[in-house]
Amino acid sequence: MMASLKSEFRKLLSVRTTYIITAGVLLFVGFIAFYVEGWRLKPIELAKPDQLSSDVFGALSLSLFGAVIAILQMTHEYRYNTIIYTLTSSNSRSRVLLSKFIVISCYALFLTTLISLLSPIATYLGVHAAGHSLVPQHLYYKDLIWRSLFFGWSYGMIGLVLATIIRSQVGAIVALFITPAAIEPLLTQLLNAKAVYLPFTSLGMVTGGETVKGASITPERGALVFLIYLVISWLVAWYLFLRRDAT
């Protein structure tokens, strides 16, 4: 198991896309937090005691790129056929998949932590650079931490599970962007208030707190609903990973 884990970490850390995407995300988060959420903050927003918390949740939308990294980690194997080495080096396909699960979980949590730390710091600096100051902020650390980490980790898992099932790089990335942007909004028209139980919508409830057709669910319930989808998807992905030819 340790050998598979070490190999997966090396795969992640020995391709430049990992660094380019991570750096790009952090630069974007830093810029938006400093300039848009800090420097240009309106007086009414300076008076909000939960401004930094909402900035963190807003910045977490970029966790989507954690999913992109997860997709690349899996689909590069098929695109470049290195899967033949990965599977013949290990005596268990399940172990290989578990290693990828752990490595992507670690990366997603790492990226989320960086985003969650960078965003409030950059906002704070931006506000002060503009000569303003925020009212004392109410930061519910426990709530903030679990919701942020769960959200970021979930995106990593979405990417990995899509890549395991679809295996095509383009197909998995398209599914990642199309599902929340087009398919779920269309289903919302059909399901109305029950649309809060759709996977991406329920995950959005973990950080968003917005309503869908007048309905919403608590972050805890949103997380639970999403986890059910995730477990079912992982069972399908696991079965396919074991049964399909490695091509």
């Binding site: 050998a3 070490k6 190999s7 056929n81 290195t82 033949i84 013949t88 005596n91 030819d245």
Partner: protein, 311 residues
Amino acid sequence: MIKAKNLSKSYRSGNLRSRTTKKAVDDLSFEVETGKVTGFLGPNGAGKSTTMRLMLGLDNGKGSTSYDGKPLNSYQNPSKIVGILLEAKAFHPTRTARNHLKVLAAAGDLPDKRVDEVLDIVGLSDVAKSKPGKFSLGMSQRLGIAAALLGEPKYLILDEPANGLDPEGIAWLRQFIRDYAKQDRGVLVSSHLLSEMSLMADNVVVIGKGKLIADTSIKELVAGRGTSVFVRVDKPAALETALKAADLEYKKETKGITVPAAKTDVIGKLAHSADLTVLELAAKSASLEQVFLELTEGAEEFQAHSKETKK
């Protein structure tokens, strides 16, 4: 010893209305002995690569393959049992050659120093820090061979390892594979270079359309086809008459006549008794290529057609 037993693999093709099932590998059984190089031959589309993938558990199919009596996944570290080269370009193009091998070394629980050793063996030390995306086919093959050697495995399964190698590289590979097998290890190697195979392999497994055609040593395979005699005389028509009278089959060539499964002294005496002047008389052994073409006749998946044939 590697024992492949009753390997079978079918593919579905066509659309929903007319779906057909095609057998890529059909109940194939053979062995790869230790201490020997086993050549794996077959026309394009015969199922060689699929067979190798089945042996490694990469494709799901019927049958089983054992390595020294046990399936590959029952070993703690399969990298030390079998090294593979199934495709030359199986690497991430922007991950350096050394990093590519370090990834594989980690997966096989092997020390990183082994990476530099195998890079040295295949002659890629100078480009260890280069990205293999720009490697030539020959360099990619060498990197693939390095990957196969990482775990110092007991068995090597190599699919067309000589593809893209220069003559020097082919000679090196031939000697390397022979030396590797001599260390009580087994090598299964497929190649389209039949002349190379005849120099490299001890045994040969020939398949066509997924089925076993021959599984024997190269010596037996070639010897089993016998020798033919080429003869050139001053009066070919008279020789033909004599051959017919002796009930011998023959084939007319541009400059003479070939008599299959014959001996020079028999043909020589026949020509003498017919009062012919023998200008040339030579025994010809069947080459591996001739035997291969003979064995796989009708078993080709894809065939080229000349203009004349099309007409």
